[in-house]
């Protein structure tokens, strides 16, 4: 009895000692670093704090979604960088998903040539470092484009040149009403789908859900154009001579080559991983499932929609979300080709000017970290919700 008690006590102490030691070691390292940092910053005459964020930045940013020039603050510069990071990530995710799904499905094709082509696409683009692909697109491929005066012309609407891709500018009137109409369309699609599901489950009536949903999505915004005074016109880019040899385009929107190169490389690289996920997902649905579905009389479209896709998506979505996250993190490679993303604007330019290494690097890392953590929390929730509930 006594011996057993002693043993338990002993185990408690044995468990406690390594924990205390680890925490102490960690704390001492942190304190050591912090005190060094304090001394170093004192020597350089700067004190820790985030007050610099409201100081005037006095540098320009080549590409920004919101108004920015030298008179704005460092905080605003951070915001510009963050928005640019989000912009390239969203474009990259959009393109990578489309390309990845196509390549993934092509890898499963019964056509030998298509399957092989898709396989080689994956093998080639997955095994070349992303940074080299970005360099290739930016320094080699896009530099081979013509000067503005000999631009590659797409039906006089948009022009591809070495200085970037010029596209028409959208000029909206009553844009907010248009946005509301889109939101309204989605809400009505949601309620319509609920109604259709009820009809199917209670009365066995099958409504053409997809067609009607698309119809709603087109009809309601169209009504806002016709009835509520929303209108859209385009400002087409026009060639303008600046001097004897230098030309440029005016009026349109210019998509800078840095953005094109980055979006291309990111989406082509990430698409290879998404393609593998898609392939694994479709292969992961057992053959028996399809046969069982066919044997109870579902047609091909119904099998795909009701049996294969729900199960395949459960396999595809978690790793693909991870790839989206990777793409967002990889967009920080923008710093290599001077696309003004968060790392370049904030962790490089702003850091150089202010010398506040600790504050700036921590803000940058914390931004990425909070993004990752929020997505992983969402994924945990999603996985729990989607997990097959077995008894």
């Amino acid at each position: 009895m006594n011996l057993k008690k002693l043993n338990i006590e002993n185990k408690k102490i044995r468990d406690l000692i390594p924990q205390i030691l680890t925490v102490l070691a960690l704390l001492s390292v942190i304190i050591y670093f912090a005190s060094n940092a304090q001394i170093n910053m004192g020597n350089r005459g700067i004190s820790f704090g985030f007050g610099f964020l409201s100081q005037e930045a006095s540098f320009d940013i080549a590409f920004s979604l919101i108004e920015f020039d030298g008179s704005y603050s460092y905080g605003r510069a951070f915001l510009v960088g963050l928005l640019n990071t989000i912009l390239v990530s969203v474009i990259g995710i959009f393109l990578a998903t489309i390309l990845g799904v196509i390549v993934g499905v092509a890898r499963l094709s019964s056509n030998f040539l298509i399957a092989k082509t898709a396989e080689w696409y994956v093998e080639i683009f997955r095994n070349i470092p992303l940074i080299l692909q970005i360099f290739f697109w930016y320094f080699a491929a896009l530099r081979a484009l013509p000067a503005p005066e000999n631009a590659i012309n797409f039906y006089d609407i948009s022009y591809l040149t070495i200085k970037g891709w010029y596209i028409p500018k959208f000029v909206w009137i009553n844009f907010d009403i248009f946005c509301y109409s889109i939101i309204l369309a989605f809400i009505s699609i949601y309620f319509f789908n609920r109604y259709a599901k009820k009809q199917r489950e209670e009365f066995g009536k099958i409504l053409p859900t997809l067609t009607l949903s698309l119809g709603i999505l087109i009809l309601i915004p169209l009504l806002s154009f016709l009835l509520l005074g929303v209108s859209l016109s385009f400002n087409y880019p026009e060639l303008k001579q600046l001097s004897e040899t230098s030309y440029t385009y005016e009026n349109g929107v210019s998509i800078i080559p840095e953005l094109i190169a980055l979006a291309l490389a990111l989406s082509m690289y990430t698409a290879t991983f998404i393609a593998e996920n898609v392939r694994a997902g479709v292969l992961g649905v057992g053959k028996g499932q399809k046969e069982a579905a066919a044997s109870i009389g579902l047609n091909k479209g119904q099998i795909l929609k009701l049996v294969v896709m729900p199960q395949a998506l459960r396999i595809i979505i978690p790793p693909t979300t991870n790839q989206y996250l990777n793409l967002t993190k990889n967009s920080s490679l923008a710093a290599a080709i001077a696309y003004p993303d968060m790392v370049l604007v904030f962790a490089k330019t702003a850091l150089m000017q202010t010398g506040r290494a600790i504050e700036i690097i921590s803000i940058t890392m914390l931004t990425y970290l909070s993004l990752s953590i929020s997505i992983s929390i969402f994924m945990n929730w999603y996985n729990k919700k989607m997990a097959i509930k077995e008894k």
Partner: protein, 418 residues
């Protein structure tokens, strides 16, 4: 009625097969003469029609030869693999024509019109690639700014490494252990001494001069060496029953996994020196190595954790019932099995590590991609970006493809054993 008559069946094989094959052959002939002989067989047609003519012709031809169960083995295999439906036939033709069209400019640029001999940009007179650029800069691309006369040291360090690894595969099991210990704990110091010099009569070469492909290997080798044990400890820590250790491990792993490598490298370059006592200086390469190692260790930890989780509980209980302690249980029972399970995952992490090494350009170290960046901005060699990056891409592709094939083979081999 007419449509029914046009349907390819076995009865009509004698008319449909020759006709269809003739159509397909003519379609390919048209594309081939167009690309390689620059002669348009269908020049008499309007230009837009002439362009799509082979596609149309081939499509009809493939339709005609799509005879089910024809009895001819070759035809059946062809139909099954590339001609199973109208859509497939169209895609087949499209892909083949694109390949034929693309191969000629590609070959011209890569080989036929490229320049291989010479010593300066002026020797590149052809329209193709200027491989002279790679030839002239080859030493720099491999060794960075390492002095030419000292490059034998880099070579011998790598030859020694490969020789040791090679021998380790063949020596008997008894000595193998000592060989591996030597490789892991003694060789790194020999290698570093050989490369940096400063004693034994070797001149000192500062790390800023290291570069090129050899730097990629050096960083990869050291990062692999260190990130593996750290990753294993982190994984064990995350599965530990002691809350303090578990939470510290989780925090550490998630911190590194949540941020891009580039910010970690920035941190190593500009933020880390602030945390050291005034006046101490840690070499840039070492700072970068620490950063990459910790970063990859976090990923390694997650891979190893996957293996640990996959092991059945019975293994732990069996080990404990034999009276094994925590460390003996993990070292002798759990880890050998868990690591074997996740060998593909480990290989993938190492592959990612190799692919991440070019990022060290942000702190001013130049491996292969960085050296190309330097070479292409040399005033004598402007406009050579394409050649440079194609070469670098090829080199990295060979390395990474070999690694990924090896890991796939390993995976197959191990999966059959179970």
């Amino acid at each position: 009625m007419i449509l029914n008559n046009l349907k390819p069946t076995k009865e009509k094989i004698n008319t449909f097969l020759p006709l269809g094959s003739a159509f397909v052959v003519f379609a390919f002939l048209d594309v081939l003469t167009n690309t390689f002989l620059n002669y348009n067989l269908t020049g008499f047609l309007p230009q837009s029609l002439s362009y799509f003519f082979p596609l149309l012709l081939g499509y009809i031809g493939l339709y005609l030869i799509r005879i089910e169960l024809s009895g001819i083995r070759f035809l059946d295999r062809l139909n099954k693999n590339i001609n199973s439906s109208n859509f497939n036939a169209f895609l087949t033709l499209l892909i083949l024509f694109i390949i034929i069209k693309a191969i000629s400019p590609l070959m011209n640029w890569l080989v036929l019109e490229a320049n291989f001999t010479g010593s300066s940009k002026d020797d590149c007179t052809g329209n193709g690639a200027c491989w002279v650029f790679i030839k002239v800069w080859f030493n720099r691309l491999m060794y960075g700014l390492y002095p030419d006369v000292e490059q034998w040291r880099v070579n011998s360090a790598f030859i020694l490494l490969f020789a040791l690894v090679g021998i380790a595969f063949f020596v008997p099991q008894k000595i193998k252990k000592y060989f591996i210990i030597f490789l892991l704990f003694v060789y790194p110091f020999i290698g570093i001494k050989l490369l940096s010099g400063g004693s034994f009569g070797l001149t000192y070469v500062e790390t800023a001069a290291w570069g090129g492909l050899s730097l990629t290997f050096i960083i990869s080798a050291f990062a692999i060496l260190f990130c593996f044990p750290i990753g294993v400890f982190l994984a064990l820590g995350r599965r530990s029953s002691l809350p303090a250790i578990r939470y510290i491990s989780i925090g550490f792993i998630e911190l590194w996994r949540g941020v891009p490598l580039i910010t970690v490298l920035f941190m190593a370059a500009v933020m880390f020196p602030m945390f050291l006592p005034d006046g101490t200086f840690i070499d840039k390469l070492i700072r970068v190595l620490i950063a990459i190692t910790l970063f990859e260790a976090a990923y390694m930890a997650e891979v190893v954790r996957g293996g640990l989780q996959a092991l059945p509980k019975g293994q732990y209980e069996a080990a404990k019932s034999l009276g094994m302690g925590y460390w003996r249980m993990n070292m002798l029972i759990i880890l050998p099995q868990a690591l074997k399970l996740v060998i593909p995952g480990i290989a993938n992490t190492l592959l990612a590590l190799v692919k991440d090494t070019p990022l060290i350009f942000v702190v001013g170290l130049m491996e292969l991609a960085g050296m190309i960046g330097l070479a292409k901005t040399n005033p004598k060699w402007l406009g050579m970006a394409m050649e440079g990056y194609v070469f670098a891409g090829l080199v990295f592709w060979i390395i990474c493809y070999a690694m990924s094939r090896y890991s796939q083979n390993l995976e197959k081999k191990l999966s059959t054993e179970r």
